[in-house]
Structure formats: structure tokens, C-alpha cells
Symmetry: C2
Amino acid sequence: MSKPVDNAVSTVRAYIETHHDAFLQDLAEWLRIPSVSAQPDHAPDVRRSADWLAAKLRETGFPTTEVWETPGAPAVFADWPSDDPHAPTVLVYGHHDVQPAAREDGWNTDPFEPVVIGNRLHARGAADDKGQVFFHTLGVRAHLAATGRTTPAVHLKLLVEGEEESGSPHFRALVEQHRDRLTADAVIVSDTGMWSEDTPTVCTGMRGLADCEIELHGPDQDIHSGSFGGAVPNPATAAARLVAALHDDHARVAVPGFYDGITPLTDRERELFAELPFDEAQWLRTAKSHATHGEAGHTTLERIWARPTAEVNGIGGGYQGPGGKTIVPSSATLKLSFRLVAGQDPDHVEKAVTDWVAGQLPAGIRHTITFGAATRPCLTPLDHPALQSVVRAMNLAFDQKIRFTREGGSGPAADLQDVLDAPVLFLGISVPSDGWHAPNEKVELDLLKKGVETAAHLWGDLAENWRDAH
Amino acid sequence: MSKPVDNAVSTVRAYIETHHDAFLQDLAEWLRIPSVSAQPDHAPDVRRSADWLAAKLRETGFPTTEVWETPGAPAVFADWPSDDPHAPTVLVYGHHDVQPAAREDGWNTDPFEPVVIGNRLHARGAADDKGQVFFHTLGVRAHLAATGRTTPAVHLKLLVEGEEESGSPHFRALVEQHRDRLTADAVIVSDTGMWSEDTPTVCTGMRGLADCEIELHGPDQDIHSGSFGGAVPNPATAAARLVAALHDDHARVAVPGFYDGITPLTDRERELFAELPFDEAQWLRTAKSHATHGEAGHTTLERIWARPTAEVNGIGGGYQGPGGKTIVPSSATLKLSFRLVAGQDPDHVEKAVTDWVAGQLPAGIRHTITFGAATRPCLTPLDHPALQSVVRAMNLAFDQKIRFTREGGSGPAADLQDVLDAPVLFLGISVPSDGWHAPNEKVELDLLKKGVETAAHLWGDLAENWRDAH
């Protein structure tokens, strides 16, 4: 009974072995382009990176490849319809821009001159995110080779943006502008990681994000704390009392309505989290922190993956120079951010926080509160058929049990979910040691192959098991 | 029965009228010296101011005048013993340095070119503090003229420092160094004000001051709030929770032991405060504040004069630039100051705060707490014989009921009280509109005369009614 699968696995592996050197040479050529979106003098490089990728995708077989302009850096779109009219449509997301990197930051080699050391390819972008975008090129070729098809089993689209490392400022508008071209039954994000080399995992969701700045005004200017202190409200004290009131004594967020609508963590999900080989002491070292602290009744992994938070990102008021200054300060500022989980509505949270803040302040303290653009949370249920396909494809590639994680951070994937009204799945093969945003970024060559294999197996499985998606 | 007093009053007034023009010319000469202690390029002017004053005091009649060096700006000491061996010794305190001033700050005239406009003398230092030091020169001469004495009725000493506007960094050491020369039964501070032109008052005390800086450390560097937020302690949150816990819901300081030892405000003192023509709306305008706020059960005047406070002078942590940054910050800093009232021991408060802070912080937040040099509170009881003398002398000068105030701020007077173990009395004739530290500083010429008159009446009264002081 396992013969066809075994055959598929070995056919895919053989195809990949044959083409692996050329694949790596191509990837190295792309990695040599320093597409640093945060640095204006690299803008031509970011454009060159987009052009290079569009050409490479055409060479891969995508009949349509386009460079899409934004007010910032360009994105690349590619489209390869299936000859199967019942095939589901899948949109793969990644980015072709990279973090800044310079030899003097601590790199052992030139960050833009890729080099293989042992079984690792070192270069800026090797893992984040060029390597993970690029495994889809060889992946879809291996899929065709193993199935004898001339078009993919799914209608395959790629959207590779050029501003992810700069906060994706134009991404949502781009997706809205091209909504008709981007329609999909599912989104596959290849810009995340796995638990570790030994524990392959698939991410099932990301937290959302709402953030605000609160300005508190007391006296019209700093006033003398001897002449007036103790008899007028102090905006720094008011800011501090707001922050203190944000959480109750169990570290739960105390803003009424904040938890409304949350999709509860199921017992099964909690069990799956608990099965992961989590080493809290090691995690604390990664967090550069000296104790855990968080919502009562939840483990650390639950706290960072599945529970919403209210965090102070910045606070400032009054005199912050050397020595002291005996004033009642005129103003104070708070920067707060809220990580959101599935079921939470950012607009509802924004209103709840706004109302709550207004009710917390003493007479004589005026305030403004300004929210930034929110990012919605996303979560794919464990029993979603597309998620099952990803798990099966990874299982074939890794020949190991695939476990589940979530991502505590927030990303542009949520914009795709929102605008396209499609579930978001994560196919990432990076590991924590890959050094995203750090010197000596690398990708494990064995994992890169597993990425190619997973992509090669995924499209057939999705088409077969999810034909009624749309 | 009132004949001798009337005679004394008119004799003093006649003497002052005769010498008033010369007095004003001398004061103007002194005010022309820009003795700005905060500006290093004015250091020669501060020295010139000290030399000028020493010479003027010798001309006034003080047999001993000395310029005392400090590691900063020099002070002036003058000593005029009484021929009455039973006379009490009085030390007058003031300062000869001034705040910075420049025409472009909003002055209508050159701040160092004194000018009389209407009944006001405008110049930097006119009220703070050269004018108030200088009324003692004509005052003691009028005292001698009215009493026919050749030496003052008290053993009169003056100490006029040169660094008050720079925080008196060397004052305490100076007083300790010259303790034997400065011994006194009472200290008279002429560096304060009255309630208003219409309501002459005498100040009976100043609050003390203890201040500290608290540094709170969480993660070893700023960390990602998505990856780690909600699961590790945030030092900005810890700082805020400390501040929030400083006060209970009645705005009382919640640090155990903070209120230990306080000399209670008597019913009589509360009545006297309440009798003052206090206009809260006007006070709020002066405070540039939009509401009152303070310890329950106390009026605004009680809060600023007679109750201790805990105030946040500065708070800072995490990202304070434009926009947002999704971090758990590595550290946060608090600057707190505590105004102290009579009976509170700064060392006890320092220990109470230190112990309390250590017990408030969650695991994983390390901290340091550093206190600056404290200033003790001072308070002279209403029935103190020297205070009664000041009130009677002012009453003769103003021909009005003299009321009582206190001062919410803190000053070097407390060092004199501590080192010399002498009660501190306040004889100040400045009014709130005089513009201390502001452009167009002025002194009311009528009040300046009242200051001279008060000084002229004070020494005889003190000698007569307080012969057993020492």
C-alpha cells in the first residue's frame, strides 16, 4: 500500500539531487544582491532583486511573472494556473528584501558573498527569506517531474514583497489593489521557522497586534515640586497608574472587554504544546531574561503563542538627565502594544482600551490616545484540510512526526487573510540557530532540501484532498 | 503707653527717608554686577559681587567682614558683636548670586542695568536675593540711629553665600568648616516671600527633601514583544507599578514608616492657614494646573506646606521616539523625590523607601536605588520667642496684622538649623509677582522700605525679649 508514496518520495529526492547544484548556484546569485529595503542607497539593489526573481520564476515555468510597483520597493507576482479546472488556488507569500548586514557587525565572511561551510549556506537572506522563497522554485519543478504533469496540481500564485524588513508599509494597499489577481483558497506563508532541526513543526497561527501612544498632560509646563507638589495631579504618576492598572494581580489584562470573543485554546492544543521539548532555562537565555512572568494558569508557550498581552514598549515623562530635578512634570507619554489572539477583534480592543483609559485618569490630567494600524491574529484549526495537507507533505519530506507550534509575533500574513478571506498556513523550514537579523545568518542545506521536498509533495496532496475548497 | 513705639517707628522712618536715595544707589551698583553662579564665564562677577558686598558691610559698620572661599563661588561673612554681653546672637542668611538673565528672554530692560519704573525697581536679583540681603544694611543703621546705640542690640552675623542659584553645593561644608564663627541663637533667613502686598506674613517653616533614582533592569537587552512579551517581567511595567503603589487611593504615601514621627499640624495652625485669603482658582493658574489633587482630608495649603509628599520627577524606559517599537525594554529609570515635614527623619525615610522598593519588585527584575544628599525640614513653633519678635517687628513696619505661612520648597536654611542647632526664622518681603527666576524681576520699593523697617525694629525686640536665649 505504501508503494506509490515511497515512489513519489524517491522520485522527488532523485530529481532534487540532480538539480541541487544548479539550484544552489542560482540561490547564491540572488543572495549576492544586497536587497536591503531599510537603506535608501540599496533601493536599486532591491529593484534588481525583484527583476532577478521575476526572470527566474519565468525560467521555472510560471507563464505570468510581473514586478508590481509600490510607493516603496517593488514586489514580484507570479501565476501558474493548473490544467485541472477543479484545482484549489494557493498563494505563496515571501519577501525578497533583507535586513542590513555589514562585515564589521560580526560576520565571519562577507554577508553578500554566499559561502557553504560544512552543511550550511551562509549569507544575509539565506534563511530570511530568500532561501525559503527559493525552495518553491525547485519544489514545483520536482512536483511536475514526480507527477508527470505539465502544470501544477493547484493553481499556484506567488507574491514576494520587497518591504517586509521595513515593516511592510505598502503591503496591505498592494494586496487590496490587486485583490482580483490574488484570490486564493489558501495562503502559504514561507517566512517562519520550525521548533528545531530534530523537531519539525508546522506553525498554525500568529498573534495580531494593536498599538497605541497615549500622551498625558498635567501642568502647562514643568512646575516646582516644592511649591506645588502634593497638591496637583502629576501626569507621570497618572501614566504609571494606568500601566499598573493594565494588569490584575494574576497578570491578566484588566481592561474590560479585552478578552471578548477569544477562541479558547483546546485541551488538545494545550497537550500538543506540552509535548514539545521545551527547556525553560534555555528559553530564558534566549529571552535574555532572568525569570518568567505572565498570566496565571498558563505555561510560557501558551503565554507567548495563544494568550493576548498588554505590553509597555516605552514610557517617558519629566526629567531623565543626570542627577535630579524637583519638578512636577508637564507631560508623560506611554507606548503600549497589545498582542491579539484568534477571535479578538482589533477594533473592539481599540475601543475597549480607549474607553478604559478615559475612565482611569484623575481630574486635571488631559490625554490623547492614538492607535496605529492594527494587524489581525490568524489561526488555522488543526483539522483544517489544507493544514492536514501541509502536515502530510512535511511528514513525507522529514519522515518524522510533525508537531505544531504557533508564532507569538505578528506579520503581514494577516493582511492576506483579511483581504483575501483565505486561511493562512505556514511552511517554514528555518530553525532558531539560523540567525535572522543577526551576523552569520545561514540556512541548513539539509533543511533547504526538506523545504523543496515538502513543496514538491504539497500541491498534489492539496489538490487531491481539497478539491471542493472554492 | 504707645508713645515710645510711635517714636521708634517715626524715628526709624525718618532715618530711612533721609538715607533712601543713597541706599537705592548702592543697591543698584550691586545689581549691576551680573553674579550668575550657574554660568562659568560669570565667575569673576560673582567674586566681584562678594568683594563689593564685603566692602559695603564694612562701610555699614560691621567690624569684621570676610570673603570665604569655597571650591565654587565665594561667600561673604560679617560679624558685629553687641556691647551687651547678654545679647542673643543672630545669624542672617542670604545669597549674592543670581539666576541667569538675558534681554532676549523677554526682559523689557537690561536685566543688569537697574531701573525704577513707577514704584518698582527692576533688575535681576532685585528680589532674589540682593534686595533682601541689602535691607539689612540700612536696617541695622536705622536700628542704631533710633536706639542711640553704637553696636547692635544683638550680636549680629551675616552669611551671604554665592551658590544658592546653583543648588548650594558647598554650603553645608562651608557652614561645618566655620561652625565656631557661625554659632547663633537664631538664624534669620531673608530669601523668602510674603503672601501678598496686602497680606504681610511670616514663614514658619520649610519642607525637607529626600530624592532618589531607581534603575530597574529586566532583559539584558531590549527583546521582541511578539516572541517574549507576556511571558517575562517588563521593567517599565515594574517601574510603573512601583509608582502606582507609592500612594493609596486617598493619595496618602503607602510606604510603611513614611509618616513616622511627624509633628502634627495643630488646630490653631490649620485655622491660621484657613484665614489666609486663598483663591484656589488663582492658585491653579499660578500652578499652571487644571485641577487640585492630593492627600485626602487636607486643604491645598496644608498639602503644600505641612504634609509630606512622594513625587515622580521623571520616568523613562524603552522606546520614546516617534512611532512604535514592539519591544520588552531592557530597563527603566525612576526619579522620585519626597518632601518632608517637621519630625520626619530623612535617614528613616530613605531606609523605609529602600526596604519598600525591594519588596515590591517581581522576580527577574533587578534594581539599584541611589539617594542624593537630603535636606531636613525646619519649623519654628508659633510660640517661639524669636518668632514673636519677628512678628512684632513686622507689625510695626506694616501696621497690619501679620499672618503665618510656610514654604513648600526646601533650602539651605535647613543646613544652618542642623549644623548650628539653632531655630530658623524667615524675614522675607518679596511678593509672588516679583518674578523670581523670570524676566523683569522687580522689587516693590515700598516693601523694600518695610524690610528695612522690620530689620530696624527686630534687633531691639529680640534682645529685650530673648536675653536668656543662650
